[in-house]
């Protein structure tokens, strides 16, 4: 009943009249049912089922039922879970190249970003998982991360200097904050609210929806819309499943993944709009930045340090 059974016979003719067994696949998603990435994953599931005439059915396990992102990736490597949607950050521990997506101010703008991610460079990046028993299918949107704090409106890097900013646990994240003259404090996400409230830290960074759903907006009023990092989400298949698919079915899965991106991005845009409205209504001050140049310049030390490691990809992105 569970797991992907043998798919060897499913090649070729659809209308031979032979009743085929439906293969049920498991897709793990750590966000709730109504979250944009879950909506995207469900759209992907719907498209696969439709395009394969029901030969494949994908069940979406939302809400982190099957483990956190990191565990799920490892389960994919084992082949016990077939598909998942995870952020690119934890994936950088599985493919060195994918870490390039975490570089600050990487893209010119949204349009350039999605042209690249949905295009050839994106496809090549998705192929860097070879050797990790993972197959990348497409990128999903989780917006841009920006800084927010309890102290003051921040418009330039000078304004943020000296503040204690919570970051995720990674050397790159720490280096970015430090390059701005602020002080990076790695901390578990669940601790951030009370740490902001009591002044253990002065600020944190995240996208709009998380700023809203985590209630951090209640204690940190100043949100600087300077989208410094836009690490996308990635839809992944296990290599085990991938090798069981026929070439045509592989093509169908890729198509479905790419087609589901627009539905996911639309859901994301709606969520950002809602969240933005809600935090403003609750008294948050949005500091809009017209010119990102001082910010781009401030993070140059990060490029000096990591530039070589990601040289190939940075060249391709910049020459695009």
């Amino acid at each position: 009943a569970c797991g992907s059974s043998d798919t060897g016979t499913s090649e070729g003719v659809n209308d031979s009249g032979v009743a085929r067994e439906t293969v049920t696949l498991k897709l793990a998603e750590n966000q709730p049912e109504d979250y944009p990435t879950t909506i995207g994953a469900k759209e992907f599931a719907r498209l696969v089922e439709e395009k394969t005439d029901g030969r494949y059915k994908i069940e979406v396990y939302a809400g982190g039922q099957l483990g956190d992102e990191r565990s799920v990736i490892e389960q994919l490597q084992l082949g016990t879970i077939d598909l998942t949607r995870v952020n690119a950050i934890p994936l950088s521990e599985f493919s060195d190249d994918i870490g390039v997506l975490a570089m600050p101010y990487l893209f010119e703008d949204e349009d350039q970003k999605w042209d690249i991610l949905n295009g050839e460079i994106g496809q090549d990046l998705l192929e860097t998982f070879e050797g990790s028993s993972l197959v990348g299918l497409s990128f999903y949107d989780s917006g841009e991360r920006s800084f927010y704090n309890t102290q003051r409106p921040v418009t330039t890097p000078e304004d943020i200097a000296g503040l204690q900013i919570r970051v995720q646990q990674s050397d790159l994240a720490i280096d970015i904050i430090n390059s701005l003259g602020a002080s990076a404090t790695p901390m578990e996400y669940g601790e951030v609210y009370s740490a902001l409230q009591t002044g253990v830290i002065d600020g944190a960074e995240n996208n709009f929806p998380s700023y809203f759903t985590s209630n951090h907006f209640e204690v940190a009023k100043y949100f600087t819309v300077n989208g410094y990092q836009g690490v996308p989400e990635i839809l992944l298949s296990s290599e085990k499943l991938w090798n069981e698919l026929s070439a045509e079915d592989q093509e169908i899965f890729r198509e479905a993944a790419l087609e589901s991106v627009s539905v996911q991005r639309e859901a994301w845009a709606n969520l950002v709009e809602e969240a933005q409205k809600a935090v403003v209504e609750n008294g948050s001050e949005l500091v809009e930045i017209d010119d990102l140049t001082p910010w781009r310049e401030a993070v140059q030390p990060v490029y000096d340090k990591y530039g070589e490691q990601f040289a190939e990809w940075l060249d391709r992105i910049n020459n695009n």
């Binding site: 099957l66 483990g67 389960q75 578990e188 669940g190 601790e191 609210y193 009370s194 009591t198 253990v200």
Partner: protein, 426 residues
């Protein structure tokens, strides 16, 4: 079929007296093989279940408890309680409850409470003319009450199982119900004392009082550090536990100085022993719970319960009855991990706050610690009192009644739980 295999093989192994944690993981392996899942996945889930920074608070709570215990904290808390309420009729029974409330503020373990407070007070109570079974009953019901008093590693396990509910809010949420239950237990003990003409406590020499109070409060300050650190947000739960442990270490070896520093090896060893039991249960339940999720048990249970129940009150009662029943036959830590993902969605769908549900869950399972057929605290208490489980259970009736009444109160009056977190954390 997978579901039946998982639960069926687990029950069979349990009945065959295979260790609980081993039964959980073996039934998972058997089901994994049936479902054609690489067993490596289940092994990975064992690690995954432990690989969380919040859970690191557990070794510290255990260590702090062991340090204070070995260093004579139980005796000091008992003395302090004696100064406060010993003079009343039934004094030793009341002291027993109060000392456990204090003890609960340092350690999260009801078993540790029973064995340390119990091994001092049960013999004392017997000598003063209390009946054996009653002495054990008071000891174990108040030890179970201590589980609600922060800090509590069970709350941390719940916080992890519920996907990161605030530990600070849970700790504050448990405080009022814990104290309320303590008061109710004291009232019962007093009524029984008057009825059975139990003795008043021995008088304390006036000149000893300042020392007793000072040393008692110094020990209790461990609780203030741990809870204060978390609630103020100054420390994370794990960090608070670490600092509290450091403080307990200093108090024990440099202030009380009942034991030499060389005893620390023994303390560490004992901590490790306690940890090995708890952590195996956590690891094994994590694999077991993962299979339940894979088999969609949470969805099935939630749908069934909600379709059977005519209204929210009945749903909540159903949740409580299920938890009490499961608590009777299983240990606390694995039940928290297994029941939370199944029942929390049901609870939130009837509008229950996750903090409120957590406190109700912990109290239900705390009752399970002192009910037959499987009740660790009941077993330990009976062993210390050298009395049969049946006899203790009979004399437990008034205390069971009290606990169920308090349970219903906090279940149906959420503000008892949510009031304190509301003012302190929002």
């Amino acid at each position: 079929m997978g579901i039946f295999l998982l639960i069926g093989s687990f029950i069979i192994l349990l009945i065959a007296r295979v260790p609980i944690a081993l039964s959980l993981i073996l039934s998972s392996f058997i089901t994994g093989m049936y479902l054609d899942i690489n067993l490596g996945a289940l092994v990975q889930r064992m690690v995954g279940g432990l690989n969380s920074f919040s859970l690191l608070a557990i070794p510290f709570f255990v260590l702090a408890g062991e340090i204070m215990n070995e260093g004579g904290i139980s005796r000091r808390l008992i003395n302090l309680s004696n100064v406060i309420i010993g003079k009343i009729r039934g004094g030793l029974a009341l002291v027993n409850v109060l000392a456990s409330t204090f003890f609960g503020g340092i350690s999260g373990s009801a078993v540790a409470d029973t064995s340390s407070v119990g091994s001092v007070l049960i013999p004392m109570m017997k000598k003063s003319g209390y009946k054996k079974d009653y002495s054990v009953s008071v000891t174990i019901s108040s030890a179970a009450q201590g589980v609600l008093i922060p800090p509590s590693h069970n709350m941390i396990i719940y916080s992890t199982a519920a996907g990161g509910v605030s530990v600070a809010a849970l700790f504050m949420g448990g405080l009022v119900p814990g104290i309320l239950l303590g008061l109710v237990l004291m009232v019962i003990a007093y009524v029984i004392a008057v009825k059975n003409n139990h003795p008043k406590g021995e008088p304390i020499k006036k000149e000893e009082i300042p020392k007793i109070v000072r040393e008692g409060l110094l020990g209790l300050f461990t609780a203030v550090i741990i809870i204060g650190g978390i609630v103020s947000g100054f420390f994370t739960a794990t960090e608070s536990a670490a600092i509290g442990t450091l403080y307990a270490f200093i108090i024990t070896f440099f202030v009380y100085r009942d034991i030499p520093l060389s005893r620390f090896g023994v303390i560490l060893h004992r901590t490790f022993k306690t940890l090995s039991m708890v952590l195996f249960l956590i690891a094994a339940s994590s694999a077991f719970g993962w299979l339940l999720a894979l088999l969609k048990v949470p969805t099935i249970v939630a749908d069934t319960m909600l379709s059977l129940s005519p209204n929210d009150v009945i749903t909540l009662l159903m949740i409580i009855v299920i938890l009490l029943a499961l608590g009777m036959i299983m240990d606390m830590a694995p039940l928290i991990l297994i029941a939370t993902p199944i029942l929390l969605p049901v609870a939130t769908s009837i509008g229950m706050d996750p903090v409120h549900f957590g406190v109700v869950l912990i109290l239900c399972l705390a009752v399970g610690l002192i009910t037959p057929p499987v009740g660790t605290v009941l077993f330990v208490g009976s062993a210390i009192g050298r009395i049969s489980i049946e006899k203790v259970t009979k004399s437990m009736m008034p205390f069971y009644a009290a606990m169920v009444i308090v349970l219903l109160l906090i279940a149906f009056f959420p503000s008892l739980v949510l009031f304190l977190p509301g003012i302190l954390i929002e």
